[in-house]
Symmetry: C2
Subunit: 92 residues, 2 copies
C-alpha cells in the first residue's frame, strides 16, 4: 500500500466511537498527524472524538491546531447557505 | 462602572443572535478580548457565534486561541459524567 497523503477524518452522522476508531487506526497505521473535520451540528461531535482519542486511547497525542471557518454550501436548487466548520489537527 | 475583569460569554440554549449581540456589546464596551465558552451540544453554536461576529459584525476581530477540553459534571444523585468543552478567545 502506498502511504496515504492526507490523514483526515470527516465527521458525519455515524456513532462517535466509529470516528474515534478511524482516528486511532490512522495513527496506528503510521500517521504522525490526523485532521478531524466537521461542519454545522457535527462540530460538537468532532470535539468529542478528539477528546476521547486523547483521554482514553492515546495520551501521547496532542492538539496541534484548531481552526474555525465559514463554508458556503450550494443546495440543489442553486441557493447558497453558510455553515460553520472546524478542523482539529491531532499530532503525536 | 468598574471595568469588567473577564469578558466571557457562556453559550446556552438561547438564540444564536443573542450570544452574538453579547459578544459585540462586550467589544463595544471596550473589551480587547472576549472568550466564548460552551459545553456538549452547544459547542457547534459557539463556533457559529464566533464566525458570525467576525464575518458579519466585526471584521477586525480575530481568533486568538481555541482550546478544547473535557470537564467532569456531577449530577444531582452524585454520579459523574464527562462532557467536552470549548473556549474560543476572540481578540481585536
Amino acid at each position: 500500500m502506498t502511504e496515504k497523503e492526507d490523514n483526515t477524518v470527516f465527521i458525519g452522522k455515524k456513532n462517535i466511537m466509529g470516528y474515534v476508531l478511524a482516528v486511532v487506526t490512522q495513527f496506528n497505521n503510521g500517521a504522525n498527524a490526523v485532521e478531524i473535520k466537521a461542519r454545522g451540528k457535527t462540530i460538537s461531535k468532532a470535539v468529542d472524538v478528539a477528546e476521547i482519542v486523547r483521554n482514553r486511547f492515546m495520551p501521547d497525542v496532542t492538539v496541534e491546531k484548531i481552526e474555525i471557518k465559514t463554508e458556503e454550501l450550494m443546495s440543489e436548487d442553486g441557493s447558497k447557505s453558510k455553515v460553520s466548520a472546524i478542523e482539529i489537527k491531532l499530532k503525536r
